[in-house]
Amino acid sequence: MRQPTWITCGKSNRYIRIVQPTKSRAGTGFASNHVRAVLALILSASPIVAQLTTDQKQANVASFETVWTTIRDKHWETNPGGLDWQAIHAEYRPRIEAAASSEAARAIMREMIGRLKQTHFAIFPATVYQVLDADGTGEGWPGFETRVLDGRVIVFEVREPQSNIKTGWEIVQANGVNMAPLVAKLQTDPAIHELQLERAVAARLSGQVGAVRPMVFADQNNARVSLDVKLQAPRGEFSGFGNLPPQPVWFESKRLGNTGYIHFNIFLDLVHIMQQFGDAVQQCSHCDGIVIDLRGNPGGIGAMAMGMAGWLVKQPGERLGVMYMRGATLNFFINPRAEAFDGPVAVLVDGSSASTSEIFAGGLKDLGRARIFGTRTAAAALPSVITRLPNGDGFQYAVANYISHGGKALEGNGVVPDVDVKLTREALLAGHDTVVDAALDWIRKQKVSK
């Protein structure tokens, strides 16, 4: 039997970020001026052309039926989300038939799947695919990553230095928008968790490669610094997976003293990332320990968690957890590599660590194989697939529930760190990452106690 491979991205990858309605990304995130102009034209014209053709109406109804039937047949519960799914059909079908526009039809379908109150169910507009198909290079970023700390947007890591921007600086304003009030507003929405919040903020700072974003920073002395930040090409290489549009993927490994440090942004580009992960572990066979940084990692291909665990677990017969689907129960088993590392392993997580990151961290924690540092993960860990609907929209649906080795569902619970450590602006300004420091300190103590 071939091992099925599942996408378990949180609602945080680049693709979903584009379509999140809360992101206010219109006009900034898409690829080219031409495409943007066309989109603007379509948007501005929509009230006039709101009347759907018969074919469009049929495509929307067919899409609704596809969504409804897929959930009926493939949700892991025979009564999805505890709902009377047939009654749901009776309630929503007339509304779809009466929908006056594709946007309205999409909103109705989103409302229907929202009734499940489960992550990994989403409808993506066809325009996203069209734009991505037209030009997939519109994911400029400012060259630094941010984190929301105590309601403020703080520069967390500078990858491509420009204009002397430093780790720990606060971004007070971006593109004319004051960030703290924006964060405060987003934080009042109970539907927006840390994962979505971080992505919403990142979306405010990104846009077309080469575009210039005026930003106002507060430096280490809280003095205001106004800079025009030129957006860079995204870090890493774009990699897709089936119907999941391409995402930028990067991997880094380095030594922090005699401890290995592995950091990658998403569980994709399987062949290369698995190779690089294996190489990094093997090159660290004599290290005091290994730190695996999954902060901000939204997940990806679920099976990669199994494969990576095989480099860290020597004992055969272990598993990270169990995935429950309609008609099948699958173990996320671990195939120990001959060269598996058996020293201390620390895994770093935060509220933006989702899905496969949670499967990996939660399983290793439950097995007692890794110590988890940081803050509670996103609690969004349902394996899902993405398909295309008759009207051209994308449809993401969860097909399974996942229970970690310790017996707890990750969905809704997340992974609770063994050591709760928060980032602080003060530490970042002083050149320290409190979470990495805590992990290194633990690894040092393991060496001493040995």
Partner: protein, 251 residues
């Protein structure tokens, strides 16, 4: 009595009559399959087989290509190149069943999973089905996509039984169900086959649709050839697998 009613009654009578007929023995059905797909002589003149095809997971939008080599009496090597998942290789040589992939690395199959691999590797599994399944029984009749079939239960010496559905009319296999076994667990698998085509005197189903839980997979066979040279070392155990075998043997 209207024509429609008469036809209905006739149909009912025919059904009753058919149901009253004794079911053929399973061995008759299985031997018939060997005959209608080429016959013993056609099968037994070959000692090696190369199969190429494509594979797709429509729901996920994933696709790739498959190459499989088989050789008498029981050697097998398959390579599935599945785009972003990379290459997944598996084989059976000298009693060792193995798999190697970018995701999980190398591993040696054991237990029911090994037994299943051994059955799939048996080169003359059509004519020599008795080697794989000492016990076979006809369970009844069942329709597969509107075609009347005999339902046959095949039980191996160890491991999971397999149920096959053979067309009463053509004698061809149309569907099979079994439980696939791997360290990931046991999963019910249903495979429907169709589009039989002749390759060097032997009929092969060139299209299969498999369902494993929520997963669906389509496979198209694009070519089958016999007794052609295979790349050197095709059936040799990969070094990583050999290392695992040696380690298990305490070498």
């Amino acid at each position: 009595m209207t024509i429609l009613t008469r036809l209905t009654v006739l149909g009912a009578l025919a059904g009753t009559f058919a149901a009253a007929q004794p079911l053929p023995k399973a061995e008759t059905i299985l031997d018939r399959y060997s005959e209608v797909t080429g016959g013993k002589a056609a099968y037994q003149k070959h000692t090696q087989e190369t199969m190429t095809g494509t594979i797709s997971f429509p729901a996920q939008g994933l696709g790739g290509k498959l190459t499989r080599y088989g050789a008498a009496p029981d050697q097998e090597y398959s390579a599935l190149e599945l785009g972003p998942i990379g290459k997944i290789e598996s084989g059976f040589t000298n009693g060792v069943a193995w798999e190697k992939s970018s995701i999980l690395g190398p591993r040696v199959k054991t237990g029911d999973e090994k037994d299943q691999a051994a059955r799939e590797a048996l080169f003359d599994s059509q004519v020599g089905w008795r080697k794989n399944f000492p016990k076979a029984e006809t369970l009844g009749s069942e329709s597969v996509n509107g075609e009347d079939c005999y339902k046959v239960l095949l039980t191996p010496p160890s491991g999971k039984p397999e149920t096959r559905f053979y067309s009463k009319k053509s004698g061809l296999l149309l569907k099979s169900t079994t439980t696939a076994v791997s360290p990931m667990g046991e999963v019910a698998v249903e495979v429907e086959v169709s589009d039989y085509k002749t390759f060097d005197g032997i009929l092969f189903p060139t299209h299969s649709k498999s369902k494993m839980g929520a997963q669906q997979m389509d496979m198209l066979i694009t070519g089958v050839s016999f007794d052609q040279p295979v790349p050197p070392g095709t059936f040799d155990l990969p070094p990583e697998i050999k290392a695992l075998v040696d380690k298990a043997a305490g070498k």
